[in-house]
Amino acid sequence: MAVLRGDIELAGLTKSYDGVHTVVQGINLKIPDGAYCCFLGPSGCGKTTILRMIAGHEDPTDGEIVIGGENVVGLPPVARGTAMMFQSYALFPHLSVRDNIAFALRIRGLSKEDRYRQTDAMIEKVRLTELADRLPAQLSGGQQQRVALARAAITQPRVLLLDEPLSALDEQLRVRMRVELQSMQRDLGITFIHVTHSQLEAIALADMVVVMDRGEIKQAGPARDVYATPRDRYVAEFLGGQNVFSGKVDAVKDDLVSFAAPQMQHIAVPVGASRVGKGDTMDVAVRRDDVELVRPGVELTADKSWLSSRVLAVEYQGNFVKVMLDATGSDEFVAYIPERVFFRDPYTIGDVVQATWPSHLARLLAKTTALTA
């Protein structure tokens, strides 16, 4: 397959500031041209460092960064064809909106007339025409964000790098700007790499989600894959929406795993691709919206797993009700019950219930290695 100009490949990318601790540990990743890619992880997981290395504001200790088939390590940002949108925007405080956006063109030596013509087209695109002569301090957060986006996009980069672009905004605005980012990306048709610690943001925007922990990639793939089929406990817990619990394997029969603990005797989990032996401790993930609640004594069909438990708390969420259970000891166990279903027979705190789900929907997770435990 031909290499496109916005294709990015990271090979063995490593970064260490002091030679002792590595913040990025030999990352390998391919991002296709025109993708919206989100790096997702908690603060300090190395995601911003990777972004800054791609941008050229930080040099990798080892490894390659290939953009459009060319290794760009050592090149200045402009030569890479990347543009960065900084966290909290880093707009030039002494320049008007127009001059902020025109800055890169001014550096390139375009005449005032030429650069303002290009800039004004961009200003119109991000709907800032009436505000073009204002200073950044006179703009709202959302407007500043649009200026930052326009400033980064004016040079027609092949890759746009966004460092926590929405974190400075309030909740409502964040949802609105999310839509704008997405439509901007479709408009420009270039690769976006977006760093965030919010899983909501990542799965809403990205074609490709890269989940990171301590300088390593835990899982990379389409948003739906990462959310619905997390590889291990870390990814499942970080993305949320899953109940994760562990148990000691008692037997494997007919491709179904059963567990030794007495409260888990009615649980069966498909083996899937994992290799499991008797006595192994395995993590199991069950989606919170796959869980149903029934009163004790109700007959369940054989293809269902169930746990007996007590209701700890009930939170009304509007379109569903979040019911917290004490089913699995120390692990949090939550059921998302559709609102109408819940209120047909509401549970209150202290009620004994059976949490049940179709056995084939549960998943065994890859064992977390001792290193990250």
């Binding site: 940002p77 880093a90 002494h94 800055f103």
Partner: protein
């Protein structure tokens, strides 16, 4: 106990007023009043109202020459302290990565201030003098045959001493305004392809303007209001505005000296307001 809003506001400004009124407003008023009195020639003042003192000062060709001389020193000192101060601050803020080291180096800049003004000035004499270090070194290596006369007791020496004394007044405010420049703003400029020179010209200089203005006010008002350095380092060869009315005082001509002082104050106020007109310090500081 509930205090009314205005009482609270007065309490807030009272410490400042307690300093400003006795130590600034009253002395200025005394000088202002003295400047319109007449002298009896023996140090006594005759209460009256006359503008004759101002007339004498303003119509004298000497006054004009003194101002030219003093402004010359002010401009030269301002220029050199600005260049040195700007680059020292720039180095400390943008090139010293370790903040502890930056603070250490910053403190080193203040070391000359651990000795008195006079000692610092006088210590130039053995260095710049006819038989001083520089001249004897140059003679020894054969670069010159005669000692260089312009080094000491000259305008050159005056400017050297002023620059030595006052550069710190440039470094501190410029350092302060540069330290408030967000490093990411500089990175954003690099991202846009700006060279070092572009960053200096388009980002750092405009964003350090308030520091430059403050430093300029310090330096200009100190040089304009000083006579001692000029007197000592020029060896009496150059005079200054303040030096002249210091002479008046020593011959008990108080009203004339007071009138000169008021005129100088007005000139300084005009200079400062000119600086403030080009840079809105208040806006920059609250940025």
């Amino acid at each position: 106990m509930a205090l009314s809003r205005s009482t609270v506001s007065w309490l807030y400004v009272s410490p400042l007023m307690l300093v400003l009124i006795p130590f600034f407003v009253l002395p200025i008023l005394v000088v202002l009043v003295a400047s319109v009195f007449e002298t009896d020639g023996f140090g006594g003042l005759i209460p009256t109202f006359t503008l004759a003192n101002y007339g004498t000062v303003l119509t004298s060709g000497l006054t004009f020459n003194l101002y030219v001389e003093t402004v010359k020193f002010t401009v030269l000192t301002w220029f050199f302290t600005l260049i040195i101060g700007f680059f020292v601050a720039y180095f400390l803020v943008f090139h010293v990565r370790n903040p502890l080291l930056a603070i250490g180096l910053f403190l080193i800049c203040t070391v000359p201030f651990w000795t008195s003004n006079i000692i610092r000035m006088i210590s130039w004499i053995p260095l710049l003098g006819k038989e001083g270090l520089i001249n004897s070194a140059l003679l020894r290596i054969g670069l010159i045959r005669e000692p260089l006369e312009f080094l000491l007791y000259s305008s050159f020496a005056v400017v050297v001493a002023y620059v030595h004394q006052l550069t710190i007044f440039m470094i501190v405010p410029i350092f302060n305004s540069m330290a408030r420049i967000d490093k990411r703003v500089v990175e954003a400029a690099i991202d846009a392809g700006a060279s070092r020179f572009d960053i200096m010209r388009l980002i750092i200089v405009p964003l350090s303007k308030s520091g430059v203005a403050l430093g300029s006010i310090f330096v200009a008002s100190i040089v304009m209001g000083d006579f001692f350095v000029t007197k000592v380092m020029s060896g009496g060869g150059s005079a200054s505005v303040v030096g002249a009315f210091y002479e008046d005082i020593s011959v008990l001509q108080y009203p004339g000296a007071a009138a000169s002082a008021i005129i100088l104050t007005v000139v300084l106020l005009a200079m400062v307001s000119l600086i403030l007109r080009t840079v809105d310090i208040r806006k920059e500081i609250t940025r």
